[in-house]
């Protein structure tokens, strides 16, 4: 692959031309033509339907075309809980897909098994197949899934195979002042002296409370 990675320069044109790397060009082309194989097993499928319908419109990302043959698809969406009984099927579907192929873990169950911590459920599909992007949520909102899709496209463009996780856009733990805290004693200093509470909240806020 060494030859492919070197940058190509074309001689001649005075009108100007673009130079790129073959794999960067391939990545750019691939990231907008994802043919998906929906492996939908549980309630997350409802959010998946919302994602593919016009309101959220996954077609904007060039990833709307489902192919129900693993031979013709490059993106495996694992949507929902995977039981131990289903694990061989999932593995086989993954193995039947042609390279290059990517895997999205849609929802908490596909990512980690969720709260199904027992004999029935695979604790995360990465125990069985390599996973590219994890989308937490029970179920995740379509916006989170679109975040995950953009993350995957970025990975494809950069030819990056390390896994990625969709982060929450709003983390309630950052809003410390708006949360109730465990009161250690009846006369907790934080309740009596609001200034102290504000100081603490400022220290715990992101960026040391310098913003806002």
């Amino acid at each position: 692959m060494g030859d492919v990675n070197r940058s190509l320069t074309l001689e001649g044109s005075e009108q100007g031309f673009a130079t790129t790397k073959v794999d960067a060009l391939l990545g750019w082309a691939r990231k907008y033509s994802l043919f998906m194989y929906p492996f939908v097993t549980a309630c997350c499928g409802m959010e998946f339907m919302a994602l593919t319908s016009p309101r959220f419109d996954v077609a904007r990302f060039g990833a709307e075309a489902p192919r129900f043959s693993p031979r013709q698809s490059d993106l495996l969406w694992v949507v929902g809980t995977i039981s131990q009984r289903q694990a061989p099927v999932l593995k086989r579907i993954y193995e039947q897909m042609m390279d290059p192929k990517w895997v999205m873990a849609f929802g908490t169950c596909a990512s980690t098994g969720g709260f199904y911590d027992n004999y029935t459920t695979v604790p995360g599909i990465d125990k069985i197949i390599p996973t590219d992007v994890y989308i937490p949520g029970c179920p995740p909102r379509p916006e989170a899934v679109l975040d995950g899709l953009m993350l995957l496209q970025d990975k494809i463009a950069r030819n990056e195979r390390r896994p990625g996780v969709v982060k929450p856009r709003f983390d309630p733990a950052h809003n410390v002042a708006g949360l109730v805290h465990l009161r250690r004693s009846a006369t907790d200093a934080r309740d009596l002296v609001p200034a102290l509470r504000d100081k603490e909240a400022k220290a715990l806020a992101p960026h040391g409370g310098r913003e806002a």
């Binding site: 694990a87 980690t112 098994g113 709260f115 911590d117 990465d126």
Partner: protein
Amino acid sequence: MSQVVLDKLRERFGAAVLETHSQLGDDTAVVDPSKWKAICAFLRQDPALDFDLPVDLCGVDYPDRAPRMEVVMHLYSISMRQRIRLKTRVGDEDMAGAELDSVTSIWPGMNWLEREVFDMSGVHFRGHPDLRRILMYPEFEGHPLQRTYAADRTQPLVPYRTEAEAGMPLHKLEPFGPDEGMPFGRMPPRPEDD
């Protein structure tokens, strides 16, 4: 209202009805397992009872009781608009003798329910036409709803990828810590937690 049903059962089977219980229109009869099928046939065939809808069948494990496994059946009569809950207790502490007569000849709909009770609780139904597992896979060992089945025991069909193979940690935070969730213990703490 369906106290009538319990009365008829007691009148017909006497000592085979071990206990009865009524509360808020809910009637329960605990019966002798050897009379299980005869009582079911009576409930189905008697015109004043006419229990034609088998609602549910399940097993409940009480590991500290003498007959350990309780099999619970719910019946409904569409014509008489009455319900009954029928219980029986089978099996010693090693689940020996956990057997019942199948009632699939009385209600064909009991076929899959009996398979489920067999699969989950390990009760055998004599005379069942096709007593196989229905929810778990054939390779599965044991019966997961028995209290003696370890809560953290899994039997994967596909060997899990190793962390070396994956190139990343696969052991994520469990939803419940060792001291949370189920009271009888989860996975042992990992060495890096110490």
